[in-house]
């Protein structure tokens, strides 16, 4: 991860200096430097466009009455026009949106009503004048106003207040216009760091898990599958089932699961085959290493098998010795401390923030299934005489499309998460990408891949920029899940055909090396393009770029109403595609 220092603008109607101090002093990644807008001037600060262009992120944390002045009257049980009050919520949301246009991402804290307000007591949720009910309604209205705005995220501030029994401090308020005790700001700072890291693409993708005393109770090799602790009328057995449910929920969100266990494989499998209480089935796991080898080596092998870097991996094991070993051997792997108490397993897992994503796409949800299909695909490979024959057998279809509203979240995600097959490793938000593409000299295509085993979804991005000397490939990004199946060559062909159709005389691609994108350079070296100086590759335009015969390429014409399918089996991408 880069050591770049990120700027964070704090905007509030109260004093956020303590939060700023926590953030500035926290050594955890990502490092941030805060600047604080003058408190008490929330609207001028939100609307002030001057001098904040160097800020990356913005955090807005307001009191109810600071953002919605009519709420002050509600606190006094004065008469308030509800329509006017919700119009103020809308106005606040509009100001946040205007403010957001200057930032990579904007975080907004949800509103909370101090617990010392009893409001209408037992009527507080039942009457339109109830403060607590109104707080919920105002939060919902704010969330709906900001919903769907790329790069704006509403954070649940009630979580920060749970850190202490008395989060509000009237004394601090009167002394320094700070409403909360320090611990609340400490917790908020942690959450903000996670939120910024999430936007920057720090999410982990693979969870490697131990079996004995982790997925079930007991040592299966000693007690047999019949006697492991799982389910039944037993508090620990129930806790293991709930832990498996929590793991399954991660798998359904797109986190890959894998097993690293010191066991005999066929004995471990007996639990999956014979115990109906097993929530997790073998097909829920993208891979496993069940043997007596070093767990660190097994985890590294699993990550490599799944084409993932170690910085994407989390390892859970009940054994502190194994945890220490993996931490020492593989420092990039996240190894959370794990409780001795089995009944805390599920809640400990569900508290982990390392899997947070800035958005969840269809590709995320089906990732586990995709890796299962990949295993079947690889298994079938052995049945063929050559790699070419195997590739033919896959019946791969590549669909090329331009950027549109439905695919932009996935394109942005792919751009920000892909490390290995990535020519320039540009990281951009949706807003930044939209701004970049506004110039007509720039073009971007997305590539979807499916074969007879599965639909891998949107897995490739290609972008071009026209310059005085021809076209330059800016982004060349392909998900590791479809690497090595000649999709790369389709992408190059699209770039070349597009440039040829415009009569451009030169197409170049400049490889920018990172610690993780060597596979990209390897591809360009064998791509057929001529290597020039400084890792620049170019194509001789006197001839078309051949496509592998085993691929079918489908594209939509620019006129979407035609929706004509343009097929290619002859080694050319039809120009109507472009």
């Amino acid at each position: 991860m880069s050591n770049e220092l990120f700027n964070l603008r704090l905007v509030s109607d109260f004093n956020l200096e303590t939060l700023g101090r926590y953030l500035d002093n926290d050594a955890a990644w990502p490092p941030v430097a805060t600047s604080i807008a003058p408190f008490g001037q929330i609207f001028p600060s939100l609307l002030d466009s001057a001098g904040s262009h160097e800020q990356n992120f913005c955090f807005v944390w307001s009191s109810l009455e600071g953002a919605v002045p009519s709420f002050r009257k509600m606190l006094d049980f004065d008469t308030v026009d509800r329509t006017a009050l919700f119009a103020e919520v809308s106005y606040f949301a509009d100001c946040v949106k205007k403010c957001h246009s200057r930032f990579k991402a904007t975080f907004v804290a949800s509103w909370t009503l101090p617990s010392f307000y009893r409001g209408l007591g037992i009527l507080d949720f039942q009457n339109n004048a109830g403060l607590r009910r109104l707080t919920l309604e105002m939060n919902l209205a704010l969330i709906e106003e900001l919903d769907g705005i790329a790069g704006i995220y509403v954070l649940d501030s009630s979580r920060w207040l749970e850190v202490t029994a008395n989060p509000w401090s009237p004394k601090l308020w009167y002394l320094s216009k700070t409403p909360y005790r320090s611990e609340v700001f400490g917790r908020a700072a942690q959450d903000l760091k996670v939120a910024i890291g999430t936007v920057l693409g720090s999410a982990r993708k693979l969870l490697v898990i131990d079996l004995d005393d982790t997925l079930w109770g007991g040592i299966i090799g000693d007690v047999g599958w019949e006697n492991i602790v799982l389910g039944g009328h037993d508090h620990k057995g129930e806790a293991f089932v709930d832990f498996q449910r929590a793991l399954k929920s991660l798998r359904n969100r797109g986190i890959l699961l894998a097993i690293a266990s010191k066991n005999q494989e066929e004995i471990a499998f007996q639990a999956f085959e014979n115990r109906p209480e097993m929530v997790l089935k073998l097909e829920d796991f993208a891979g496993w290493r069940i043997n007596w080898n070093d767990k660190a080596a097994n985890i590294a092998a699993l990550a490599s098998e799944l084409n993932l870097g170690l910085q994407s991996v989390v390892f859970i094991d009940d054994n502190p010795v194994e945890r220490a070993r993996v931490r020492e051997a593989l420092p990039e792997v996240l190894v959370p401390e794990w409780p001795d108490d089995k009944t805390s397993y599920a809640s400990t897992l569900l508290q982990l923030d390392c899997f947070d994503l800035p958005q969840i796409t269809d590709e995320d949800r089906s990732r586990g299934q995709m890796y299962l299909n990949e295993r079947q695909r690889e298994k079938g490979k052995a049945e063929y005489q050559s790699v070419e024959e195997w590739l033919h057998s896959l019946e791969t279809v590549v669909t090329v499309e331009e950027l549109n509203q439905s695919n932009v979240p996935r394109v942005v995600q792919l751009l920000n998460k892909t490390n290995q097959m990535n020519l320039s490793t540009r990281r951009m938000t949706e807003n930044e990408l939209g701004a970049w593409l506004k110039q007509e000299r720039r073009k971007l295509w997305a590539f979807r891949v499916r074969d007879r085993f599965s639909d891998s979804g949107l897995t490739g991005i290609l972008s071009l920029e026209a310059g005085s000397n021809g076209h330059r490939i800016v982004d060349f990004v392909l998900s590791c899940r479809v690497m090595g199946r000649d999709i790369e060559r389709v992408m190059v062909a699209v770039a070349i055909q597009y440039s040829r159709s415009l009569g451009v005389s030169e197409l170049t691609a400049k490889y920018l090396e990172t610690a993780k994108n060597k596979p990209c350079r390897d591809f360009w070296l064998r791509s057929g393009l001529t290597q020039g100086v400084e890792n620049t590759f170019s194509w001789d335009f006197t001839r078309p770029y051949p496509l592998p015969a085993h691929l079918e390429v489908i594209g939509l014409s620019d006129d979407e109403s035609k929706h004509e399918l343009l097929r290619n089996r002859e080694g050319q991408v039809t120009s109507a595609l472009l």
Binding site: Y22, N25, S169, K171, L175, S176, T178, R181, S182, G186
Partner: protein
């Protein structure tokens, strides 16, 4: 159980040091408060600005409530005036707290 003067003073120091450990999480690396009796807190040579002092007061009051089971208002006199002796150093604050708790226990 009643505490002797020496025990009261030790407990006051413990509570202050615990508050300092918590406060240091929000203090820059080069302005960490040293948990020593002669560390100057607020005033001319003090290391706390007004916001840090406000946070320190609230944290310390909480620690004292946990340690002694009594509520002590450390802002009875204006802590920001710089004239009050008990925020001069950690030791002066500990002695003030110890004496206050002694008075309270004898009431």
């Amino acid at each position: 159980m009643t505490l002797g003067t020496s025990n009261r003073l030790d407990s006051a120091f413990d509570a202050i040091y615990a508050a300092i450990a918590e406060l240091n999480l929000q203090m820059p690396k080069n302005r960490q408060i040293q948990p020593r009796p002669d560390t100057a807190l607020f005033g001319e040579k003090g290391q706390l600005d007004s916001l840090a002092l406000a946070n320190f007061i609230v944290i310390t009051e909480q620690k004292l409530e946990e340690s002694f089971g009594i509520q002590l208002d450390l802002t009875q006199d204006d802590p920001f005036s710089g004239q009050n002796g008990y925020f001069g150093t950690i030791e002066s604050l500990a002695r003030y707290i110890s004496s206050f708790t002694e008075t309270k226990s004898s009431e």
